[in-house]
Symmetry: C2
Amino acid sequence: MLTTDRFLEEIKKKIQDQKRILTKEADRYSYAYDASFGFHLPDLVIQPPATEEVAAVMKLANTYKVPVYPRGQGTSLSGGPLPVKGGVVLDLSQWNDKLEIDKDDMVAVVSPGVLTAKIDEAATEFGFMYPPDPSSSHVSTIGGNLAENAGGPRGLKYGVTKDYVLGLEVVTPEGEVIRTGGRTVKNVTGYDLTKLVVGSEGTLGIITEATLRLVPKPPATKTLMALFEEIVDSGRAISKVLTAGIVPAKMELMDQLSIQAVEAYEPRGLPTDVAAMLLIELDGHPASVAEEILKVKDLCSEVGARDVRVAENEKEAAEFWKARKLVSPAIVRVKPTKISEDATVPRSKIPDMFQRLKEIREKYQIDLVVFGHAGDGNLHPNIIADARDHEEMERVEKAVAEIFTAAIELGGTLSGEHGIGTMKSPFMEMELGKAGLEMMKRIKASWDPNNILNPGKIFPEPGQRLVLRHD
Amino acid sequence: MLTTDRFLEEIKKKIQDQKRILTKEADRYSYAYDASFGFHLPDLVIQPPATEEVAAVMKLANTYKVPVYPRGQGTSLSGGPLPVKGGVVLDLSQWNDKLEIDKDDMVAVVSPGVLTAKIDEAATEFGFMYPPDPSSSHVSTIGGNLAENAGGPRGLKYGVTKDYVLGLEVVTPEGEVIRTGGRTVKNVTGYDLTKLVVGSEGTLGIITEATLRLVPKPPATKTLMALFEEIVDSGRAISKVLTAGIVPAKMELMDQLSIQAVEAYEPRGLPTDVAAMLLIELDGHPASVAEEILKVKDLCSEVGARDVRVAENEKEAAEFWKARKLVSPAIVRVKPTKISEDATVPRSKIPDMFQRLKEIREKYQIDLVVFGHAGDGNLHPNIIADARDHEEMERVEKAVAEIFTAAIELGGTLSGEHGIGTMKSPFMEMELGKAGLEMMKRIKASWDPNNILNPGKIFPEPGQRLVLRHD
């Protein structure tokens, strides 16, 4: 056990509610997983409900050299909260007592354990919205969304989590409490620690409070579905729409295999012989949305869409979106293990990326479906496999590595929104180069000299390779 | 002379075009100033037109321990490019050979010396726009805008410079070349070095190329002018508009003294007895803009505006904006020295800030006018004085310190968009606290161990105070 008795004794003095210290194996067990791969049992789980307690834990952890792993609801797809070196998991999911909306400043102030969907719900009452939604906002915490800089389908028009963070309260790896940013949209007082900590995957600090920017909720939305016989035509449609001065709230793509999987799982009458389907949602003023949706329809037809349908009402729009939502449950029916990637390419390279993915699928004989946020180039190649089949998983590992290589060769990035965690760290140098990675490491070392906070993430260990096999 | 002969000799070997090395005092003289305060003659000016040359200069500067000061067009209001410790000024304003627009990816790729207005001009040809404009975009370089994270009147709806940067090529303080981010809107591969370097005021790296996000140009704009007899009513108008679901492109405020200054300078028929004037610009789809401008008009009237006028056409809109543009030239007619501040408060605190500014004006008997970007709380209190009057400047120094204190006490920030530079560094700890400042210093020390790049900025020297007097 990494955490000495002495450390535990000291922790008990600092945590007011002793029920918030979990030591039994049965209690610790569920903290050994997240939504990615690997099993790592922590020695101790603490559920602090206050900044001072987080700070006290970090100070003790530095004294006793015990690793600390902050965690929200554990929905991470990249291993963010996994306690790979044992030690303490800091469960922040219970700390959800603050959710304040300030109408005049148009901000929300929240504790880390608040579910992201609750923020948007609370904003709605004032006519506002909190746009970022990684499609899991009803189960994921804002703390986790902040740590990972969560994205989602609204990225193209509304940006990602980082674009909505004005200020943070952060406990540093050594247990100091700092406040970054503030309540204003404009702030250039020193380095932007807010945007450095957001997306640092819990390696640079523990977010104990966040001030989030809200925006007026657009009064109208319209959805359109377009079907294409060639992937490249769907890419041209996206480009045509954007250069026509229209920025959709969402532009989602499903490839043929995604459509086929959905139709096999829960038939919705989608044609299974098309190469791609685009779902486009516009939002804004009713007059502009009504006019623009017709323009989008024309543009899709112009570039050769086989069929374009505008949803007549909200019910029909929800029906269209249901197909997209069914992709994930549908594909895990094929095989139990889903490796969800988020390699992202510049929008113009989407057709090339599809070609590369097709080659990878054939080369390694894997089940690979592609869907995702095509408007911002953030595709989700998903590989379906069976983790118990070692031979298959070996092919999958090689295929994943080639997907990353393809994304980077096409001018893209390893990760658009899932984060690096443990899954992608072996590939960091390929994208960033030695010098780029070195500058990141310097920041980590200067903030966390004892390497206490979420060690084993982002930065590859010497010789580390991607392993998806459970042994 | 800080730069030894040996250093100069080595520099000459690395810079291809010897005309780009300026050693004569007459040539160096204009690099001793920017648009803020102070005169610091550099020992040497280099105008490198290539990344390798910048990297070579930084490597030599580390070897010989010579400070290096990157500079664009020197329009900084906070002392960003001033060579306060002598050494080399790296003039990047001549390096303007690259300005490429990629229509499909909706990005611009630019060299650091390109004037910011040229980027927007080039984008317009494709139906796009580059929104950030610190109101000096026709004379300031994108490199300077990036270094300072320039803001401007469009902050409320469109954000600031940082919100448009997807990727950078950066020469580190030790002369390594790194690439941060990329060409995609979504990128969570490691720490966000892009947003760390942007706004770091040239202390963490020299930006040698930037990839900027463009957005579709809105097809229509409408402008409205509203006059208020009470400052607090103008604040209520702003709040009403935003909570009605309308996000104007600009929401500018001029106080009574600003209006009076303009009327004295170039009469435009504005009533000089109102407490405040709001200029509101909407942009977007023609139908929504036409409807929303009427709604804004009603909302302004509801909260007690004395008069609200919607510009009938573009010519009249330009007339309205002319008044705002005339504020700066008008006020320097009163006295020659203008201290332009940008202390920013949460939007709801604008009326309180006005009250505090009124008290400061009376206490120190200074000429203080207030105008600025009220929609995002980014006011510009401008003090008009005569730098040759030492007694007056002493009062001004004290007043400026109190303006900063007021902004921070109201939950705001020292600087919304001008940067810290030399002017505001003495006040950093007041906003950030000791621990917050320490975390910034750690980043600087880890990236620039010899403190070579833009030393003397952002971080206060022991005992440093604000001095606006030239002795």
